[in-house]
């Protein structure tokens, strides 16, 4: 470490303070300091704009300006080096102000300041600043990667649809125009092809829906869940043998309306879809916990084996053979994504042959959904 040279700029209107600082730094044990001194605000700012130093020390008093103003001006210029404020008198207010403004440290001159303390403060400030910059860079890179991933799912699935539609049309025209020239086997192949094309279309729509949850951001509004549930039940239009009961007076929540609608719509339509017999009951309700609501959607359907509990929440996972199901396995993945976006949890309990109950929580104070940024 001794070979490393640390370049320090001191902006201080008092020459005596410069001498003290110079002497302190000359005693440094871990690194060699090279000190430059200027005695006023403008000269300090001019030096900072050159970006030639590793750390800045500002005296709080600088004639008619002060160190806080210089700090703000330096940051505005895009200064990415640590800045330490020095002052003659300890003042809690100023301390808080300069730290909030972005200073790396605040040191009181005089008897409490020593060579060791100054050196330590400088080295720590440099290290902290470095890791702060590194972290900012990582966060920025992550944000870009995240955005690219969202765009990727969207663009890819979107662009896949055009050629798929072409295949669907051609298969259709083959049947129409040349159907009579094909034997049964040829006809069946074309039918299978159209079925697969449709399934692939559904899967692509699923990816689009799933990626839309994180990508598109709507306005949050006050949503009365009693009213929303009435609409959702209306849309689902369950067969008459299936009774849907809302057991509690549901709360009003502050969320994106389409998202919470997707949550209930998917859970309730799944309950209908997997009822397994023409009659059954779906119960919906909630409990109020300390700082979150816990909702449930319970059915009397076919149930899910415990070993499949995790699987049902994964995208494209279904528990029935693909040829026998119109389900793409996207619904519960979307529910999970939305609930977790709001900082809640989603889980289920189930007895095979008896029915399943899906639970999810919503914090009463929802965090801003930064995933959509």
């Amino acid at each position: 470490m001794a070979t490393e040279i640390c370049r320090v700029l001191l902006v201080d209107d008092d020459e005596d303070d410069y001498i003290v600082t110079r002497d302190f730094l000359s005693e440094a044990e871990q690194v060699g300091f090279k000190l430059t001194w200027v005695d006023n605000y403008n000269a300090g700012l001019a030096e900072i704009s050159q970006n030639r130093h590793d750390v800045y020390l500002f005296d709080f008093r600088l004639g008619k300006e002060n160190g806080l103003e210089l700090l703000q001006a330096a940051l505005q210029m895009g200064c990415q080096k640590p800045i330490i404020l020095l002052t003659g008198v300890g003042d809690h207010d100023i301390d808080q102000k300069v730290m909030a403004a972005g200073a790396s440290d605040y040191l009181v001159k005089g008897t409490t300041l020593s060579a060791t303390l100054l050196e330590r403060s400088i080295l720590h400030a440099i290290e902290r600043k470095r890791s702060e910059l590194r972290q900012n860079q990582l966060v920025a890179e992550l944000a870009i990667a995240n955005q690219e991933l969202k765009d990727f799912a969207y663009i890819v699935s979107h662009d896949l649809k055009a050629p798929l539609r072409g295949i669907a049309s051609l298969a259709d025209w083959l049947v129409r125009d040349y159907g009579d020239q094909l034997d049964d086997e040829g006809q069946e192949m074309l039918q299978l092809m159209r079925g697969r094309v449709r399934r692939m279309g559904d899967l692509i729509d699923g990816v689009l829906q799933y990626s839309r949850v994180g990508r598109v951001r709507d306005e949050k509004t006050e949503v009365d869940l009693n009213q929303l549930l009435a609409e959702v039940i209306d849309i689902i239009a369950a067969p008459s043998g299936i009774k849907i009961v809302i057991e509690t007076e549901l709360p009003t929540v502050f969320v994106e309306r389409t998202r919470i609608q997707q949550v209930f719509q998917n859970l309730i339509s799944n309950a209908v879809k997997y009822m397994g017999h023409p009659e059954g009951t779906i119960r919906i309700g909630h409990t109020q916990e300390e700082d979150f609501w816990q909702f449930f959607v319970a059915d009397t359907g076919i149930g899910i084996e415990k070993r499949h509990f995790d699987k049902v929440f994964q995208i494209f996972q279904t528990l029935v053979p693909r040829d026998k199901s119109e389900s793409t396995g996207v619904g519960l993945a979307i529910v999970k994504k939305i609930v977790e976006l709001y900082g809640g949890h989603l889980w289920l309990t189930s007895q095979v042959g008896q029915g399943s109950t899906f639970f999810f929580t919503l914090p009463c104070h929802l965090p801003d959904s930064h995933l959509a940024d």
Binding site: A162, L164, R165, G166, S169, D172, V197
Partner: protein, 137 residues
């Protein structure tokens, strides 16, 4: 629009062009169909006095050179072309595309279905409507 009025299709996908041609034949729409591959070619067609003025434009959004939204933007500000009804025929289900299309005076927005039969139905509905609707001459 009557059955002798020309329709302009702006579409770069050959199979989609076939789709529209077949579909129009199937619903017995005898209107002459002119096909161009992108927005720039559409403008060249529309601004050439030798060509007939179409009574309806069917417009894809995603195309090379000049896309559908860019073409709408130009049409909206061209007094000679702004009254031609434009129906968007696209794969995009994005709300953003729908919003922008209508902000730019689109007369309709149809998402191309996967099924040819569904497509014929859509085409039939569009065609019937525009046969009833009276456009300015």
């Amino acid at each position: 629009m009557n059955s002798s009025d020309p329709i302009l299709l702006v579409e770069d996908d050959r199979i989609d062009v076939l789709n529209v041609k077949r579909g129009l034949r199937e619903i017995q729409a005898a209107n002459p169909l002119h096909v161009v591959e992108d927005g720039e070619a559409a403008l060249e067609f529309l601004r050439n006095p030798q060509n007939p003025k179409p009574a309806l434009i069917l417009l894809d959004l995603n195309m090379p050179r000049m896309n559908g939204l860019e073409l709408l933007q130009v049409l909206k500000h061209d007094p000679g072309l702004q009254t031609i009804p434009v129906i968007i025929l696209t794969t995009s289900q994005e709300d953003k595309d729908r919003r922008e299309s209508f902000q730019l005076n689109a007369a309709g927005y149809m998402v191309k279905p996967l099924d040819y039969e569904d497509f014929v139905e859509i085409l039939q509905a569009i065609y019937r409507y525009w046969c009833l609707s009276q456009s300015p001459s």
